[in-house]
């Protein structure tokens, strides 16, 4: 199979980067491509696909794809499937594979290396963390290793960037590399040759992989699948045993490479005084571990809400200034209003979240890069499993405090399908940052600013209670879902706890940048579009109705001018009532009246579907548009709002609590529904979220309002 090609005929353009998890792949990818990279999706699955470009000193340009970190091509998780599919599919096969070897875990790095080499690829082995291994007393003879694998090894330090230029040089000369040929005397099966003859596989190992994984390989057509199934049946192949035997044989060979003279009974003491083992005594402590995690969460929570407040204020003030200056520069016209009140206000509503998202992802990236996150999964797994979740569900749930959209995306790392599904399903119950402005304004309206037991602010306690209510709803729903969703997939949770490392700030910066970009483009588009739609709906109605509203206002004003402040206000209020949005709000009033809400709140509820924080903006719009003097702060205007029939304030305690609990529980976010659809690949789950969450919210709000009013 390994025919020598003339060097001129070889073209190397697409390079894949492969390595074990925690081997330093992200650092290497960032060192090679810098900001010249973008994140996409592998078709059909929800694994991030990072692609970047780099060029070598002789001006050759290469495309580099960063494949997910895996241990083996015998795919058991979605990440492994992606790598396998990319390598076997003739349309996505790379021209060269850079394999990152981790000097600290050379055995398992080499397992993956030999698998890929046996597929017949041109491979470039790159050894990382050699200094660290030597510090730990692990001496690696590179020359001997090069002899075993019959290839030159490039040594790098992905963190400091040392060796990157030699790596680029090696890539530039990679045309001269031999195509992979097995150094391993793998058990050759007759059926492997049958697959090769049928032109389904190029090498014996590719044939073996095809046979054991064909059901997961989407590029195979029906007849190819059928012929593989035939071969499996006629040769009576035990798929699992083939994988175990092949792995055992590779490991035996690698063991001989690494320990040529080691007596198997010779006992080597595992290092017990390294930084990692000392830190783990504290971080994984049965009590201390949880206290530390709680502390980390509290710091994170504080940072998201306090630290982010400053840049959020600047963005808020900046947008307000921009709107005012545009309004004063351009003539009063429909287009000016559309631009300022519709478009600019909408963009402001998106940008306001950037600080919180940046801080959240900075924390998550630091926790992940440092190696702490896998410890959290370790200590939390048992607790989370009681609710049908997984230790890895902690990350999405914590991220849910900022925004359910990235949080649901973060659930991708959960290997078990059922646990991942439940995590996605319940994450929107966690109170996200968008609910906070709603909580804050309603708490300020209906909860007195007093203290309990002398030092707890009552308003703060209510706020805490809302977050806890959201958490309780999350766990209860997960527990119930666990009873109803059936799965025979085994959940193993076999996971490497990496050594602690100082996070690399460049990696964290790039992560934050990518998350913000995703949020601003993906969620931002929807929010801006809906705020423009909302503005149009609130400003326009059917011409007859709008005309009639103005006439009614004028007539009412003429009959009793002393009852109204001025005519302008009355016209604006009547016009809003007559607008399309007003009509819509009034049409849902019968449904929401039992909860204590009037049509104005109805409008705000409807507009919350763009994003919950729009509630506040909508109320502001409703009252802004409804009253000409908009100098009065929104809270004051809400406080002054009276029920027409009784003269009592609209925003009393019963209504306030009813609204609060509605916002804790209801599914009111189109972006979340869209991301759930994308991640579960079905409308079933987002629809279930919409109906279940909103139904529970309605009942809870109804009970609270009816009890308190």
């Amino acid at each position: 199979m390994l025919v020598e090609e003339p060097i001129q005929a070889i073209s190397i353009k697409n390079i894949a980067l492969i390595g074990n998890p925690n081997a330093g792949k992200t650092s290497l990818f960032n060192s090679l491509t810098g900001m010249n990279q973008h994140v996409g999706n592998f078709t059909g699955v929800t694994v991030d696909k990072k692609v970047g470009q780099f060029s070598t000193a002789d001006k050759q340009k290469f495309d580099l794809i960063d494949l997910p970190g895996i241990y083996s091509l015998f795919a058991k998780s979605e990440d492994e499937h992606v790598v396998l599919e990319t390598l076997l599919n003739p349309e996505t096969q790379p021209d060269l594979v850079i394999i990152l070897l981790d000097a600290l875990h050379l055995q398992r790095s080499l397992l993956l290396f030999t698998q890929i080499q046996d597929l017949g690829f041109r491979v470039l082995p790159v050894l990382n963390m050699l200094e660290l291994a030597e510090q730990e007393g692990n001496h690696i003879s590179i020359t001997q290793l090069e002899e075993h694998i019959a290839q030159k090894i490039v040594t790098i330090n992905a963190r400091t960037g040392k060796g990157i230029s030699s790596l680029k040089e090696a890539v530039a000369k990679s045309k001269a590399l031999p195509k992979g040929s097995s150094r391993l005397e793998t058990i050759s099966h007759e059926w492997e040759n049958t697959l090769k003859i049928n032109n389904l596989a190029q090498t014996n190992f590719a044939a073996l992989l095809m046979a054991v994984q064909y059901q997961n390989l989407s590029f195979l057509n029906t007849s190819e699948r059928a012929s593989i199934a035939d071969i499996i049946e006629s040769y009576n192949i035990n798929i699992l045993k083939v994988q175990v035997d092949n792995t055992a044989e590779r490991l035996g060979q690698i063991h001989d490479w690494l320990h040529p003279t080691t007596n198997p009974t010779l006992h080597i003491d595992p290092p017990s005084s390294t930084f990692t083992s000392i830190a783990d005594k504290i971080i994984l402590h049965p009590i201390g571990g949880y206290l530390i995690f709680l502390g980390v969460l509290m710091v994170m929570f504080q940072a998201i809400f306090s630290l982010a407040a400053y840049p959020m204020d600047w963005i808020d003030a900046g947008m307000a200034n921009l709107i005012t200056s545009v309004q004063s520069t351009f003539p009063e016209h429909f287009l000016t209003a559309l631009f300022t009140d519709g478009l600019l206000a909408g963009i402001g509503g998106v940008l306001i979240f950037v600080p919180q998202i940046a801080i959240l992802f900075a924390f998550i990236a630091v926790l992940e890069e440092s190696g702490y996150m896998s410890r959290v999964m370790f200590i939390m797994d048992k607790i989370m499993r009681r609710f049908g979740l997984n230790g890895q569900s902690v990350v999405p749930l914590v991220s849910g405090l900022a925004c359910a959209v990235p949080a649901i995306m973060a659930a991708r790392s959960i290997p078990n399908g059922k646990e991942r599904l439940i995590t996605i399903f319940v994450t929107p119950f966690i109170s996200c940052a968008a609910r906070l402005p709603v909580y804050l304004i309603i708490i300020a309206l209906v909860i007195p600013n007093t203290t309990v037991f002398g030092f707890f602010g009552l308003q703060g306690l209510v706020l805490l209670g809302l977050y806890l209510a959201g958490l309780a709803a999350t766990l209860i729903t997960a527990w119930l879902a666990n009873l109803f969703i059936k799965s025979d997939e085994e959940s193993f949770f076999i996971m490497d706890l990496p050594t602690y490392k100082m996070p690399r700030w460049k990696n964290i910066g790039i992560t934050i940048w990518q998350k913000i970009k995703t949020f601003v483009w993906d969620a931002g588009k929807i929010i801006v579009a809906l705020s423009i739609l909302l503005w149009v709906l609130a400003s326009y109605g059917s011409p007859e109705a709008m005309q009639a509203a103005e006439t009614t206002a004028k007539t009412e004003y003429q009959q009793a001018p002393e009852q109204y402040n001025n005519l302008e206000n009355l016209i604006a209020a009547k016009k809003l009532e007559a607008s399309y949005l007003g009509q819509l709000g009034q049409s849902i009033e019968p449904v929401i009246q039992p909860l204590g809400y009037d049509w104005k709140i109805g409008i705000a509820l409807l507009s919350s579907f763009a994003a919950r924080e729009v509630f506040v903006g909508s109320l502001a719009t409703i009252y802004n548009v409804g009253e000409a003097d908009s100098d009065l702060p929104l809270i004051q205007r809400l406080k002054n709002e009276k029920r027409p029939e009784t003269g009592e304030p609209v925003y009393d305690l019963a209504l306030g609590l009813s609204l609060l609990i509605f916002y804790v529980l209801a599914m009111q976010c189109m972006s979340t529904l869209a991301i759930t659809k994308k991640e579960t690949n079905s409308w079933k789950w987002p629809m279930a979220q919409l109906v279940l969450m909103t139904g529970v919210a309605y009942i809870a709000a109804l009970v609270i309002y009816q009890l308190l009013s």
Binding site: D381, S491, D496
Partner: protein
């Protein structure tokens, strides 16, 4: 052999040699992570309330797995 127990029965900081895997899928995954038959391990950490456990390999790697998974792995306890 009488001194063969499962990994789940090992106490914290006890050392053992991996003998075999009752579950082939677990065996494959463990082997890929560097836990092979005949290799020595130490039970490094136990999460409370029957939570997962973490074993340390000779290379220094820490691998965490659930107790139920550990109960499918046969080991031979090493004298201290």
């Amino acid at each position: 052999m009488t001194n063969e127990i499962t990994l789940a029965e090992l106490n914290q900081l006890e050392k053992a040699t991996i003998i075999s895997f009752k579950n082939q899928v677990v065996g494959l995954k463990m082997m890929e992570m560097g836990v092979t038959p005949n290799c020595e391990i130490e039970l490094a950490h136990l999460a409370p309330l029957g939570g997962p456990l973490a074993i340390r390999l000779e290379s220094g790697s820490l691998i965490s797995l659930r107790k139920a998974t550990a109960a499918t792995i046969i080991v031979k306890k090493l004298a201290k």
